[in-house]
Symmetry: C2
Subunit: 412 residues, 2 copies
DNA sequence: CACAAATAATTCAATCGTTGAACAAATAGT
DNA sequence: ACTATTTGTTCAACGATTGAATTATTTGTG
């Protein structure tokens, strides 16, 4: 009912091969076991002759490799299965956060092949200095990747704030960054990766969005639509709808912290009253649990809360119960509005999920119209530490899989 | 950052022409003034030779027509502009609502070429009987369309309830319909339209969704993302994101009536407390304005409210102010969550928009973080009466424009 | 009036990617 | 050794797009 058939521009003779390369490579990427050329012909509807020609290109470009044939019964020539190559293109993921820099390399199959985390308080550090250090770490990652037979095809950088289309970090309050021209600051350094047609050299994006994208594309495949909530000082959400991140009109979607859960409640810095952030934001939980809130970095406060809850501390348990209830009120509204069936707790909420999930689920059960016959799942995020950096690297390799022709044009 | 390049299936030689037909026809449909073949070649990137060949097919299939050349200065052969044909395919839109049946025919350019409304109370009428009457009205519309040189290429039916993918109306509470197999009931009647490859003979969908789609595609073009709210007994919304209707995991998105605006407030039939419907639903507004609620059909209650408000009736004005405020609380949350900049008031809210907009805007101003520097528009829907039927017919012709090859295959 | 310049549209042979049928490769079964 | 089966490759036909040349149609100038 929503026709999306018209292409954006001219479809040429050469477009046939480009699109069928993407089709076949995507099918190989999505397969549960290595498909043969004959399998791919059946699955795609292309002839065996065409599939063989396409696969020949993919093999020559180091995008796929032939697997050992699986044992089978019956007559017939043994099939050679195809897998994504583990020596070929890879994506570089970078992250600047409040108390760490992270760099990782993810290969075509989504496997993390390199990971570096540099722990430091980045708040007093100038953006240019932080980025220079990140470039150094990226260089080390690139060398390590080369030793593993990988070529970095592009990079994505995650930052905890609002980023515009051109990579200008408009505001990252917890870092103290405002209007930081990241691409310009990095332009004075050597390139981080190879140049690949169709793949931008660097994309800068919000870390909650990249974590949500990482969750979307993690294996085994999960739902195509879900709400991914990051609990920090502010509460952010990545809204994934029908397999795509919904960014909103200006790229600022996911602002869940100012959904009203008590409209005549506590005043909020946004000017409204009773906003979710006042009840379930990290500072609110910490205060309600009776912890001293100054001096504790974000990760430590979360870890401390989890320890106390694990030990049965009544104050911590009550604080988490109340936060979970407030979170559940907001989440139920979102679930009703968008008809979602999965809520993922990430960021600072992930380690607290055992205590947050029950009250969230209780509110959903009482407020979501369809909860009785169509249950909603609330679970912690599957990507672990540095989810945003891993999600960032993953977004690069997904571009290669979606448009292999650019990579092939580069390698001849 | 969200690669969508891989096609769903094999791309063939014939796919080239199919896709370029859609490209060129879509460009003609979207143009402000009739484009020439040379204009289209420049705009699409195809060669003039290819555009001429494609246009020849479109002309032969009665999808486009040549316009009178516009007067111009300077040397050169006069260009012949191209427009969507006004004698060719059209879409049939049908609607079953509580107190009327509606049938309309919309041509390729989006113009309503036939409109019939049959007023009656449909609640005591069996589904099969209501549909039989609708088929009769549709037959008359088809004959009228034929007299105007139009061929009906497909039909869509709007109903006020939940519909599954197969056209089974699961629940339409205001009509008293439950699990009504609409396609099966219509199968015993003659076909409503011609058979066109790629266009389903009949699609059944929720009326709020179809009205939102109609709004999306009305002219002049408006925003690609907006919240379209229909105020009736229940409050439904069509959520249009990036030019597509977001339906949710099970097709039940847009349930805004149970967003909490007073969490410790009035109990709701959903089991929650303080839901929007209890404050801004039609019954709530009518009761707050002091009107007798029995015996008044929906349209009449809305009209009566508008009259009273126009006349300055204090009770009606206060009721609308309060409803608007509650609506604003909910809407602000949605706007924050999804980063939208447009809210459209349709259905029963459209005639009440002059009084609902100010309090909605006030709540948005105080609760939406970005309202100060990026204003949100709240406005009544542009499609008038029978918006859902018009939206339904429009969805059929948009399929033709998006996939003209099916129509051309039918007409040789 | 003839010619040049400018713009729109058509003609035509070359190119390229997919196709379907035939063929080759590699196995199990009789 | 031969047949049946499945996988993968070879090859000429086909159709859509291309780029260059040509034709069509106008205005402007000498």
């Amino acid at each position: 009912m929503s026709p999306t058939n018209a292409p954006a521009g001219a479809v040429r003779q050469a477009s046939l091969r480009e699109l069928n390369l993407a089709l076949v490579l995507g099918r190989i990427a999505a397969a549960d076991r290595p498909p043969s050329r004959a399998d791919l012909a059946t699955a795609t509807g292309l002839t065996r002759a065409t599939v063989s020609a396409v696969v020949e290109d993919l093999l020559a470009g180091r995008l796929v490799a032939e697997a050992e044939p699986a044992p089978r019964a019956g007559a017939g020539r043994p099939a050679r299965g195809l897998v994504l190559a583990d020596r070929g293109p890879a994506g570089l993921g970078l992250e600047v956060n409040v108390d760490y820099l992270a760099v990782c390399v993810v290969d075509l199959a989504g496997k993390v092949r390199h990971r570096t985390v540099h722990r430091a308080d980045l708040r007093p550090v100038a953006p240019a200095e932080a980025l220079a250090l990140l470039v150094e770490l990226a260089g080390q990652a690139r060398a390590d990747a080369a030793r593993q037979g990988l070529t970095l095809a592009g990079a994505a950088l995650a930052v905890p704030g609002l980023v515009d289309d051109a990579g200008l970090v408009r505001l990252a309050p917890n870092l103290g960054w405002r209007d930081v021209p990241v691409p310009a600051l990095l332009a004075g350094h050597p390139p981080l990766t190879e140049q690949v047609p169709g793949v931008p050299a660097l994309v800068v994006d919000n870390e909650a969005n990249l974590a949500a994208l990482g969750e979307l594309h993690s294996r085994p495949p999960g739902p195509a639509s879900f709400l991914h909530i990051s609990g920090e000082v502010g509460i952010g959400a990545g809204i994934v709808l029908n397999g795509a991140l919904f960014r909103g009109v200006r790229g600022w979607s996911g602002e869940i912290g100012h959904l009203p859960v008590h409209p005549q409640g506590l005043p909020c810095r946004c000017g409204g009253r009773g906003c979710l952030e006042q009840y379930a934001g990290q500072e609110a939980i910490v205060a309600a649990a009776g912890l001293a809130r100054a001096e504790l970095p974000a990760d430590t406060a979360t870890a401390r809360l989890a320890e106390l809850a694990e030990a049965g501390d009544a104050g911590a348990l009550r604080a988490l119960e109340e936060a979970g209830t407030a979170l559940g009120v907001a989440v139920a509204g979102v679930v009703n509005l968008l008809d979602l069936d999965t809520v993922v707790l990430g960021g600072g909420y992930a380690p607290l999920a055992p205590w947050l999930c029950p009250p969230v689920l209780a509110e959903i059960a009482s407020r979501v119209l369809t909860a009785a016959w169509s249950p909603v799942t609330v679970r912690p995020a599957t990507l672990g530490a540095e989810a945003a950096a891993v999600g960032a690297a993953g977004s690069v390799v997904r571009q290669i899989v979606a448009q292999p022709a650019g990579w092939l044009a580069r390698t001849g």
